[in-house]
Amino acid sequence: MPIGLIFMKWNEITGNEILTKYPEEVEISERNLMQIFDTHDFSGEKGLISLMVGSLNIISWYSGPDTNYCITLLLNIDDDPDDYQDGLSEVSQIILQNLEDDIYLDIIPSLYQKIVQYPSLSFEQKLAVTYNNEIKRSLLIQLREEGIILKSDLTDWLQERYLKGFGNLDTILFELVQKGIIEIISVKGERSLVVFFINDINMFRVSPFKILKNSHESGLPNKLHKTYVIDSQDFFNNYTISELDNLEVVERLINPSFYEMFSLLRKGAIIKKKNERLSVKNSDIIRILEKSKMIKSYIDTEGNVYYALISDFYIDFHIPQYILNIIKTAHDNNLKSDVVLLKYLDLLENVSNDLIKKIKSK
């Protein structure tokens, strides 16, 4: 469990300047701050480092020598800094995007909570967090259309789109590389590094297969279970995959209270006994889930209420197989060099072979 977060900037005249820290009472000596900054400065690179400073266990993000911002997470000695890597990277981006008018000061407490919770997030929640980030999502959408983009063009495109700033592109790209979404390679004849899109994030609603099987699984009385199955089938008969709907569900997944309720609903219906009252928080969650047609309520003859999952949600990585059509069009119309296109095909083939090996080894 982290001890606290420190946001600082190196000032050539005054040295390390703490812009804010959370919680307020967290303490760190000037000497330790200097050691953290020196380690970043020595590496000369933007990005994350983890280090031990005295008895302090630290993971720290650096914006690079141009801007000299450091966002440092102080951990307990038994915490694994790697667990907080993605969370700190994500939050650092948000802080830098909110420097104007010191907006970051208001959001630091909630961002700190995000980092603290990050290691306990499930795989699907971590994917949802990535997809819920507007800049990363924009990058994905652009990559889905082009497959291959020069890094310099990506910087120009982001600058044009996010005039207020988009944080640090290298950090965003580093995270996408680590997640296996992109590869960045130098290709002969190209004026900049080339970003290749190798894994997409796909998502949609799916049937809650397991609990639809029988009333034993759903926890609903037999008669209600039959109605429940019909309701779920009806939902999918009218269901169309939509980005708007996906984003709505993604937002629910990353909310810990919603996710807790959602996880329970995946195991079977939640029963509210007659005369039992739900907490205001749970009532709100149920109302919102009902409104978004994720659950439906059923009442038995004794007046007990059952909340059952009408639609589950699927989110996972997939190799963007549709990209071959874009590669073919790029070749047919001479939009990209053959060297780049062949490199892309090699990468896609490697990723596919790795996936086959992974499936076979299971």
């Binding site: 699907e124 889905r144 997409d200 796909n202 949609f204 799916v206 049937s207 809650p208 297969f209 397991k210 099987k213 999918f236 995959i241 995946r266 589950d312 949600f313 699927y314 997939h318 190799i319 963007p320 197989q321 549709y322 071959l324 059509n325 590669i327 073919k328 070749h331 053959d338 296109l341 062949l342 095909l345 896609l348 083939e349 596919s352 072979n353 996936l355 086959i356 499936i359």
Partner: protein, 58 residues
């Protein structure tokens, strides 16, 4: 209604090889790739998962 197409990785690799041959040999090998768009691919993935009931439930 989207046409049912294979989303198998082995079929995808065959397509990669075909397009690579087109680029290297500068001749048309295939009319079009397996999927014309992301929407088509996602719909096929959805259909495949919905068909394989119970195999991909979180």
């Amino acid at each position: 209604m989207a046409k049912k197409k294979s989303i198998k990785i082995a079929d995808f690799i065959k397509n990669i090889k075909a397009i690579r041959a087109e680029i290297i040999e500068s001749k048309s090998v295939i009319e079009s790739a397996l999927f014309s768009s992301r929407t088509e691919f996602t719909q096929n993935l959805f259909n495949s998962i919905m068909k394989k009931k119970g195999t991909k439930v979180f």
